[in-house]
């Protein structure tokens, strides 16, 4: 790899990292605003205009809180736990294509940090690691509620990973590729996968709620039963890292959903727009930039959807959660695979 490209990659990874953290920061603000909107309240409005400085104030508070490590806890694992949660959450945005290619000075620049031909497996692998932060933190706290939260997190994640993987297989059968860039390119224009995979999308959506531990599946941390679940004993910025990792997970889950099912950076009539410019380079760049905006609009919609559901649906009971995962979602996912296979046989 030549050095120009190396520098570009480094800068791009930093930018993506920054954007991820920024979106996660403002997700906390958005969550409170959305909650306020749904419950007909005002929400945070003191720090800065419209309360926009609220995340900074929260972060400052987190940093200055007392650092507390329980006496009989496993000290090292207690500290490593939130770190694992955060690192794993940040890892997955690396393979997501946030845009098509830009042409600058005759050089083609893809708006994707790394292109691997097993991108989807990579995402799936990283997502399956996310549960370790919760489990290790919960176990190391030496607290019954934390342990219960950790155990719940483990069984929930394992159960829903199966259905999630099977809903992805249906997508694989259609696209014939594991590379996220290729999947995005195949959905050009309005040819989005959601039109062919509505059932698969619903399964994937449900499972991503479970994998990110969001209501209605936030059993690992449900405060009314388990105080705080796996982060009962955490305080100060360690707690902050756990909460932050959850929002990063939501961002990544939204980005994956947008890429797999909602056409990534593609939008209707993009080919017409591209041809409207006489200079193909300018046309390409304009379409790509609009595509990036469209991609982020889709991501923001899904983040909003996550919050919308959180303040609308009550929490599942634990046996209901397991029943939904094993008895409804997995058979549905298998049915979806069969239907997709039948459709491919019939129409291709």
């Amino acid at each position: 790899m030549e050095s120009v490209e190396l520098i570009y990659k480094a800068v791009y990874i930093l930018v993506i990292f920054g954007i991820t953290l920024l979106i996660a920061t403002y997700s906390t603000y958005a969550e409170r605003k959305v909650a306020a909107f749904i419950q007909d309240r005002v929400g945070p409005n003191r720090a800065g205009p419209f309360g926009l400085m609220q995340p900074l104030a929260d972060a400052g508070k987190m940093f200055f809180k007392e650092e507390f490590i329980p006496a009989k806890s496993n000290r090292m694992l207690f500290i490593i736990g939130p770190g694992i949660a955060m690192i794993v959450a940040c890892m997955s945005s690396a393979v997501i294509p946030f845009g098509d290619m830009l042409i600058i000075g005759g050089r083609e620049i893809y708006l994707q940090a790394i292109e691997v031909n097993i991108g989807m497996l990579y995402i799936f692998g990283v997502v399956s690691l996310g549960v370790y932060g919760l489990m290790i933190g919960g176990w190391a706290s030496n607290n019954k509620f934390s342990l219960l939260g950790a155990i719940r997190a483990a069984s929930q994640n394992i159960s829903y990973e199966l259905a999630m993987g099977m809903s992805i297989i249906a997508i694989l059968m259609m696209t014939g590729s594991l590379s996220l860039r290729e999947i995005a390119e195949q959905q050009a224009g309005f040819n989005w996968n959601i039109w062919y995979q509505p059932l698969g999308f619903i399964i994937f959506l449900t499972c991503s709620f479970a994998e990110t531990n969001r209501t209605p599946f936030d059993l690992p941390e449900c405060e009314t039963e388990l105080i705080g679940g796996y982060h009962t004993e955490y305080s100060s910025m360690k707690l902050g890292l756990y909460l932050f990792a959850e929002y990063i997970n939501i961002f990544v889950a939204s980005a994956v959903m947008a890429t797999l099912y909602f056409g990534a950076y593609n939008f209707p009539f993009m080919e017409n727009l591209r041809e409207a410019f006489s200079d193909p380079v300018v046309g390409n760049n304009v379409v790509t930039l609009i595509g990036v905006a469209v991609m982020f609009a889709k991501i923001f919609f899904f983040i909003f959807f996550f919050m919308w559901v959180r303040w609308t649906l009550p929490r599942f009971r634990y046996d209901q959660l397991m029943k939904l995962g094993w008895q409804i979602l997995i058979p549905l996912a298998i049915l979806n695979i069969l239907l997709t296979g039948g459709g491919i046989l019939l129409f291709d």
Binding site: I118, G125, S128, E161
Partner: protein, 172 residues
Amino acid sequence: MTESLFYFLASLTLLCALMVVISRNPVHSVLFLIITFFTISGHYILLNAQFLAAVNIIVYAGAIMVLFLFVIMFLNMNKDSESRVKTSTLSKFAGTIAGGLLFVIMVAAVKDTTIAGYNADTFTSQTGMVETLGAVLFTQYLLPFELASVLFLVAMVGAVMLGKKEAGEQHF
């Protein structure tokens, strides 16, 4: 560069594998085993077997080790419960010597054989790619693949059967 990467990964693998055996706390053993699996995945990537690297992470680190950790937490094992089941020094000694002898025998057997390395003419870097593996898996190995699904079904039924409480059982 790649050479030193191999040595680094290999020594890290062996170190973490040793720590799995040495650690008194089962949770630490599990965590070291997870690191071992990661380094083995690193080896797969070095060997250009991307698919196996990803599957190794998903299956071993993502599913199997979570199950192990789950069971260990479920049974609430820690250092205290572990210290009750100490192996005697004699059997530790005997075990290590037996293992070491096995190592010597295996190395001695391997040492004098000449193994053909790569063949530059017939070599393809596409061996470990998903397309190649899939083509072989779904043609040549179709029957074993289908049988593996039956195996999974049997394992699932077996685990549920074992996990079920018997009538009148009062534990847990």
